[in-house]
């Protein structure tokens, strides 16, 4: 009896293995959390979830992984982090998930975006590009027609005609909240299509060049005339809420919001939302971004094998069909697998799907600008310093948007900040 007790104390009974999974509080990830009981039943693994907002998650993960603590077994990161962290040796390579995983089914641009030197460090959960949302009913009433490929001049004219603040309709909604993943994600595409770039081949910031001045002037001008009030605090989610509530005539942003608008339980514009390509100003290069959220395993995890099993489950073809059959095809995680775009039921439920597929396939994150650049990334610059740079530059531009500085002043300050952040980069 006492021996048994002793044994119990010294060797506790074998518990179910556990995995700690951290993820973003996007609706697709919440759905994964709901469905994960399937995986728990199949594998006998218990999952502990840590679900956080994007910014907090990034801070938490960066500190965790850079200091080598092993809090998490599975983490959710994007195409900005995956190659950088893979290069540092902070992540477990994910190229051994088995033949049945069907790597070739993943969009090349998405898989390569999550890879470093040909090895995939995060498995894509969903992918997105950016395009234009518009209100078909408003366009029809005003006798306007949105072309499949609008130009920014046209977007501006439409905004002018449709701007009707008395009735709570604003001509154009765009991200105003400062942050490298907020206003700077959108603005990088705008600068690209105005023909600009973040850095020249000598890593010198280009923020005071003509394309930047033109792009930011356009942005400030069009939002101040035809944007919603308080645009400066509107991030992606605020804009999505505004559009879903019928307050925006046009919105240029992530393709992943499309299914949300078509869901009548969440959106008032379910029957009137139209889609077009991301607008172009001068050159088509880098006018639309490409991004994916992927699942990765920190090198410090002691349960990498189990974690791989989970990642394989959550990013498989079967997962996509399970979601579609059980929750409806609009809720399928988009943009990661080619086969998703061959499912007839999905194409029927999601009329925007071909446009999204095309946008993802056309986004070249290696050639984001018409001019040569030393970095990869369309709506970001794939270097560690960019989080700081993007945040600071985003702040300066928001000051210009608020009318506290001219565009030239803001960009001069942003240029100085960027130079300071890049000091000591020997390349």
């Amino acid at each position: 009896m006492s021996a048994a007790l002793l044994a119990w104390l010294v060797f506790p009974t074998r518990r179910r293995p556990e995995l700690t999974v951290s993820t973003v509080n996007n609706s697709d990830m919440i759905l994964m959390q709901q469905l994960s009981s399937d995986f728990e039943k199949e594998s006998g693994v218990k999952l502990n979830w840590v679900v956080l907002g994007e910014n907090i998650l990034r801070q938490r993960l960066t500190i965790d992984i850079s200091t080598g603590s092993n809090t998490f077994d599975v983490i959710t990161i994007g195409s900005y982090e995956a190659p950088l962290w893979g290069e540092r040796g902070w992540l477990v390579p994910l190229d051994g998930l088995g033949a049945d995983y069907d790597y070739d089914d993943i969009f090349d641009v998405i898989r390569e975006g999550l890879s470093y030197q040909g090895r995939m460090y995060a498995a894509p959960f969903y992918g997105e590009s950016s395009f234009t949302y518009y209100r078909k009913d408003l366009f029809l009433n005003a006798g306007l027609e949105m072309p499949l490929q609008p130009s920014y001049d046209q977007i501006r004219q439409f905004a002018q005609k449709l701007h009707d603040p008395q009735h709570g309709v604003y001509g154009l909604c765009l991200r105003g909240e400062p942050g490298w993943g907020q206003n700077m994600a959108y603005l990088s595409t705008l600068v690209n299509t105005f023909g600009g770039r973040w850095l020249d081949l000598g890593w010198k910031p280009q923020l005071t060049t003509a394309p930047w001045v033109d792009a930011i002037s356009f942005y400030v001008d069009v939002l101040n005339h035809y944007g919603p009030p308080g645009v400066i605090t509107d991030g992606a989610n605020e804009n999505r809420a505004l559009f879903a509530n019928g307050n925006c005539a046009q919105w240029v942003d992530a393709t992943s919001a499309a299914s949300y608008f078509l869901d009548p339980s969440q959106s008032r514009v379910a029957s009137s939302t139209g889609f077009a390509k991301a607008p172009i100003a001068r050159v088509p290069n880098g006018a639309a971004w490409v991004w994916s959220w992927g699942l990765a395993i920190p090198a410090t995890s002691k349960r990498a094998a189990l974690a791989k099993q989970f990642i394989k489950w959550a990013t498989s073809r079967r997962y996509v069909t399970t979601v579609g059959e059980r929750f409806g095809w609009l809720r399928v995680p988009p943009g990661s697998r080619k086969s998703t775009y061959e499912i007839a039921a999905y194409l029927k439920a999601a009329p925007f799907a071909p446009l999204v597929r095309e946008a993802i396939l056309n986004a070249d994150y290696r050639q984001p600008s018409a001019q040569p650049v030393p970095y990869v990334g369309i709506q970001y610059v794939g270097i560690p310093e960019f989080q700081a740079i993007g945040t600071e530059v985003g702040q300066e531009i928001s000051a210009a948007l608020a009318g506290r500085a001219t565009v030239q002043e803001a960009l001069a300050l942003a240029q100085a900040e960027t130079e300071r952040d890049l000091e000591g980069r020997s390349k």
């Binding site: 850079s66 308080g230 702040q395 300071r420």
Partner: protein, 296 residues
């Protein structure tokens, strides 16, 4: 034997009993401080591992020569001063009102105190989204129905808007301290002043205000400590923007530490914040001290 030793030097005895807790408190303070000082002298960015080398004064130099630090310092001091003014003036006036006898006084007092117990993030969210939001906020609704249009509070006047939120949160604290102080005022003194023909204004100027000076100094002291490290309200409402318009020292350190992951520079910012807090503290102590002298 030991008993006689204790009676001979009781001071030594009590000290040895206090020592463990004093030591613990000392460690509590000194270890983080020492670590901050240590990190502030190193080139240490979490995103560039393997490069933590001694940097000398580099972090301080990079901060002190940068506009952001000075803007942040100005904002910090401005916010402290502004919110102190709001809470002290409103707190004093409200205390005098609540000191009067009127039906429902107890309920009213309770309601006045209540905002202090709302968490800072929650009250900031309430103000940002339900009151000051230019599209669906309550204030926008009022101004729009008056035909003035909506004001974009947090982008047009970020510091004032934050100060208003802070004032709402902290005026109750001032009332909490000042009202009991007012109630402790000797009623005979008030009576005497009234008999001498003092009106309400003179009563306030010559009797109540001097009586309140000491508790007001206490309020100012405690609030300053909290306002210097103000963070949650800024984080929730403006993210320190637009530009640097509402970035204070605490937010600047946060930006360096958690957005740039520059441990070295953030630590240097922390040290500068400590220095600033001590300077402000010194001024306040002298001010409070002088006040107390005057009262005596």
């Amino acid at each position: 034997m030991s008993g006689t030793a204790a009676t001979r030097s009781p001071r030594f005895h009590t000290r040895s009993l206090l020592a463990p807790s004093v030591f613990a408190l000392f460690l509590w303070m000194v270890v983080p401080l020492a670590m901050t000082l240590w990190f502030s002298g190193r080139r240490y960015n979490l995103l560039r591992p393997g490069k933590t080398v001694f940097a000398g004064w580099e972090n301080y130099g990079s901060l002190l020569t940068h506009r952001a630090l000075w803007v942040a310092m100005g904002n910090t001091l401005f916010l402290v001063a502004l919110v102190l003014a709001i809470t002290l003036v409103l707190g004093t006036l409200l205390s005098i009102l609540l000191d009067q006898d009127f039906p429902g006084r107890q309920v009213c007092r309770l309601l006045v105190i209540a905002p202090f117990f709302v968490m800072p993030t929650v009250s900031a969210l309430i103000w940002k989204n339900m009151l000051m939001n230019p599209v669906f906020g309550f204030f926008a609704w009022i101004t729009r129905s008056l035909g003035i249009g909506a004001i974009e509070y947090f982008s047009r006047m970020p510091l004032f808007s934050i100060a208003i939120v802070m004032g709402w949160e902290w005026t109750p604290f001032a009332v909490l301290i000042l009202l009991p102080a007012l109630q402790s005022l000797n009623p005979e003194q008030v009576e005497a002043a009234r008999l001498d023909g003092a009106g309400p204004l003179a009563l306030f100027r010559h009797i109540q205000l001097p009586h309140l000076l000491r508790p007001m100094a206490v309020v100012a002291m405690i609030e300053t400590i909290f306002f210097l490290s103000l963070f949650a309200e800024i984080y929730v409402t403006t993210d320190g923007g637009p530009g640097l318009a509402s970035t204070n020292l605490a937010y600047l350190i946060f930006r360096d530490a958690l957005l740039s992951f520059d441990v070295g520079r953030a630590s240097a910012g922390g040290v500068i914040a400590i220095v600033l807090a001590n300077i402000v503290g010194l001024f306040l102590m002298r001010l409070v001290g002088r006040n107390l002298e005057d009262v005596r």
